[in-house]
Point group: D2
Chain length 383, copies 4
């Protein structure tokens, strides 16, 4: 309803503004018995955090997570996991000019139009800072998926007109984190980096896209019709800041394929089980997973905060004015978007696995630690 | 959870299989006081129904809706509206070959993988027949939107490699229903029709896409972050059968635009209110509506049921076999998809308007009919 | 939101007014593989239906259920089960006097106050007729529980000042259906019957209560804090028409017990598992089931429709007037309430069992019938 | 699903264990424009906090709330409000004996049975400490209600066999906070205090009950059937720790009333509006509010943690043993339960008011502070 909740069994609830005291996320529905430390979460936050390279904002946020609940001796207990992250480098002053003179294509106007007010420092609730919560929650989802053999990976496959050639999943695993752009094709990454710097120098920003792939997804996930895997991914990924297009399988190109070209025929695999011989369907048929990898792309438009002068109006003074958004802003979104996209994928897939009974909603098989309070009834109930 | 529910305040719940006794949809959350007849719903069902032209399946379904509840003297009462639609022309026999030998890229395999069984006649629950429920519900949503000055319209803008040029909203209103393809550009419609017939004759099918636009949307709708308008539309439209790509605003092209190109500057309109001078943002900024038209595209892959021989396997007998899906199938989906896309848009927008308090959740201002039981307390409560 | 939905994984959605064309209920989340016939549902509807004895309304409704979807060869498929029940003996005319002159303590005034209108025939949406939907859904829940060894039973333990002594679960199973009052203590049943007839003859009605018990509940169900078993039962049973008090375990009497009196000490059972030596806790500790029987009581106030003259006002004419509600009304609610209470218990417990992974959300182990489309992958996913 | 969420439009999400690092609650759906300070919340937390008198636990928690988000210049912004409360006086050591030897009638066994593990210090997630989150959220709900003229009040009306006579709403407002027992009848309060001390000295505890009343509730709230006001209150109040009975209106006594006795006839009030002449219906008819006060009672069983020796078993060692729960425990729950009950009432009523459109879901009319970002379009949308 209020936009700060995601997931049905694996439930995420967030709060926080860019320049408020802190960000926070509550994860409920994580089964008991998962080994979990703050380091597990921190590792992912570090991939998303600002100031990690020349092509990200220079805001200096350590993004240190603190786990407030849900653990006993380093294992989850099945009860809600509260996590908090302080905001330490907020400098709201430079946002004063925009309070009633909205930045072009930003959330300034729309938040005020909706609520009649807004937390205006650093974009407030509309800031991409919110995704720190998503990545923290995604880190937990990812640990569960890992224990079930599911792997989620994304990389940057296009920046402006610089496109990466197709890469394998193995290449994504190997190369994505090697460069600041997070493109799994090293040569392209270099060209992307150059292109980004050109726009940065010109006081401008540029769009791009992220390719994602999920391997090891069980067959039979999805709740068509309205909660098909494709529908839920549509929601999850279109919620990513600046997303303007979501595609899976052949995506937009499917409009030019015939049925006979796109259809994936069936064969038997080495276990004599039906398996599609190709994967033009992107891992989803009739809204339900086939067991083949899910793959697709997400397009993110160029950041709207740019130093180039732009025209706007002040609804308080009634004046037209020229604005420059000078400060600490990303010139391009996909590089930091990679962990965000991975998180949304992990959250969505874990949720479907719980719904499908592929993961016991109450307990994993992990060792619950020093104080073993585990109780396994030999009969399901008393007589 | 179970995929048959859509909406948060304006709630749709569906049931039905392609060849079962009937389809049904319950709409709850429709405010009281809306004038509503079965004809209002029937009109929309007729646009979606099979057998309406040479390029749709020849299945002979009258798709007659019966309203079971929620009315008093022709006006809604605010209580749930139950609607039923009988299935009359089901011929399951021809689906027997596919019971354990799944059709390529259809839901046959995945439904069985998920549930261990399925209603296999005519595709069962995975059939696009389900969308008759959506259109019935959408017809009610649409009547509410109409009374609020919101207009939803879609047309077919591409079939295979035949692309329509850009058309205006007025052209969509005028021309879309004039031809069987539902393309608002009459010349292109003819070429599309020819192309479809070519594929049909070749025993094949072809993909395509639908352009949509919503005019008159109030400012301030949307519940970022996870329930931003873009995220909710992502879910709503990716639930449409065969959808592989959802785009809004610049869509996939946004990856090649710079910030300065895409950003829409602000000016004052004739009422001295801030208004973006262009609409590259597609009516949504920060996940919330700006009041500008929402527009975008949905790509639908080619129908998977084609007469051309295809290879598959039978998991019961262990045999490989060649299949032909001969029968009453659409060679292309967008023409009948137009009312389906419009319905999902209407359902989504009405829901957001209710959430935003733009429509009284309990009552519209309509005349409640002969038996006026209306009660307007002059004080909000007794003393 | 709109009050016609119940359950989280086992989801019930209803529509229908007392004197409208028909009632309907959609059940989604029922696992595949459950053998189910219309007779299974009909049997329970017959227990609830009007006209079954002298102490129920004489309205002549056959209450014949029709299953519209969700089955293949007599087994559930995991997809939504749509059920419809026609209204055949509606006579709205006699309700005309109450359109704008509300019957005392009925829903006439409040529905109009909420919606500004209402379906006024026979109480419309506020009528207890709605519970026909609940019982239809409950019949399905009950079949699942039966297969899991869970038994739900209720009987009438008080009518006016006539109280039944405590009875055993076995007595409830044996005697409840033997008499029109549905009291498991035959002698008391006779006295209750007499008392009811006295009130009936006096043109009045009388209150009463239902005792319920659930045996075989697995340990560990419940989602405290807000969705503890007690909280969810509180909602489920307080939704029953005319409910004014919900109690479990010692109920209201607990206020006079000390901790040492009420606390149930732990011992080992014959399997060397911890078991409480008594069950003053009513099967629930900390909001979660202990495996001991859940038991409690629900109080239902006297029916508000009585032939005795009563004062009211007409908000249309501004007149004060005397009203008599003559017609086909129950003089007491608990006898027909027994299957309703059982249904709400079954729906609640099944939902908790699904949430706890005690029942596979997608499949039961039933035989899926002639057309075996079952597919059991030997490996959880393709490689 | 996971039990840490309450409310539909006014949404509360909680985390925290008794002896973990901290408690936290996220409130979303609070309209923008409400003046809110930490003091507003603190005031209510102080009423609930431990150590406030001789008849509460001596645990020394300051329960200091910190608001992390959702404000601009002291006014709410419509975005989620995150609140955190540190745990400062946790002493887990004394709970070690109970890790695998459950305390009688506590949540020790059931949490372990559900999750196979648990956070065992101080009762972990099952502790009544969780209600600090509810009271924090309730404080915000209460501020909204106050601005709408709705007043929620509760007091302790029975402890063991000591019953308070009926008191007026004015007496509740005046006297409840004057004594440690929170009974609005001063003489009875004294007797209750004595009785509690007797049980305390005997190493025992005692049950009791809370009477509640809500004045100024608008007519027409409630979403029957499953979300009637009575059903939702049933859930809300049965979630209160130790609740065993929920009653409204005549409650359990309704079973002995005839229809003619209980029915409330209609008259015109001074505004010529229909008004019930009595309120035996407890403010709710047909599940919807009449505008009359909602009133009822909640029974809380005796605290289960008592110093008296009790028998239990250790599931790890297989031994039977005698336990004493010595430490900082309340001898009776209703006195500290009063603000908890009030909070659950406020949360429930605010949620219904939002659903009914009685409060704009996005904006209140409050003054949004120094930086006025308010934007009131003169036309609802651009042209």
């Amino acid at each position: 309803m209020n936009g700060n909740r995601f997931g049905r069994l694996f439930q995420v609830t967030t709060y926080g503004e860019s320049h408020g005291p802190g960000m926070g996320v509550t994860v409920s529905g994580c089964p008991a018995g998962l080994e979990l430390t703050e380091e597990d979460v921190q590792r992912e936050l570090d991939r998303r955090k600002p100031g990690q390279s020349m092509i990200t904002t220079s805001r200096g946020e350590p993004d240190e997570v603190s786990i407030q609940s849900g653990l006993q001796d380093g294992y989850t207990t099945g009860t809600p996991i509260g996590m908090t992250i302080e905001n330490k480098d907020a400098r709201s002053g430079k946002y004063e000019p925009f309070i009633t003179a909205p930045r072009p294509s930003h959330g300034d106007f729309t938040y005020s139009a909706k609520f009649g007010t807004r937390n205006w420092g650093g974009g407030g609730r509309s800031s991409a800072r919110e995704t720190v919560n998503w990545v923290a929650a995604g880190a937990i989802a990812d640990k569960i998926l890992e224990s079930e053999g599911v792997q989620v990976k994304a990389h940057v496959n296009q920046i402006g007109d610089v496109e990466a050639p197709e890469v394998s999943f193995a290449e994504m695993l190997e190369h994505t984190e090697e460069n600041d752009v997070r493109c799994a094709h090293p040569e392209t990454a270099e060209r992307m980096q150059e292109r980004i710097e050109e726009y940065q120098e010109a006081g401008d920003s540029i769009g791009g896209s992220i390719y994602f792939e999920v391997q090891g997804v069980p067959r039979g996930l999805g709740a068509p019709r309205f909660d098909s895997v494709s529908a839920r991914l549509g929601q999850a990924l279109m919620a990513v800041p600046a997303a303007t297009a979501f595609e899976f399988g052949l995506g937009r190109d499917a409009r030019e394929y015939t049925g006979s070209e796109r259809n994936d025929e069936w064969a038997f695999d080495s276990n004599d089980e039906p398996v599609p011989v190709e994967n033009d369907h992107g891992g989803i048929q009739g809204g339900i997973t086939t067991g083949e990898p899910i793959y697709g792309e997400l397009t993110l438009h160029a950041p709207t905060s740019i130093p180039k002068p732009q025209e706007t109006v002040d609804w308080e003074t009634g004046e037209e004015k020229t604005e420059q958004v000078i400060g600490r802003h990303d010139p391009v979104l996909p590089p930091r978007g990679v962990p965000v996209v991975e998180s949304m994928l992990s959250l969505t897939i874990v949720d479907f696995m719980l719904l499908a009974g592929r993961i016991n909603p109450d307990r994993l098989d992990g060792q619950p630690g020093e104080y073993d309070t585990d109780y396994h009834p030999s009969s399901p109930r008393s007589e």
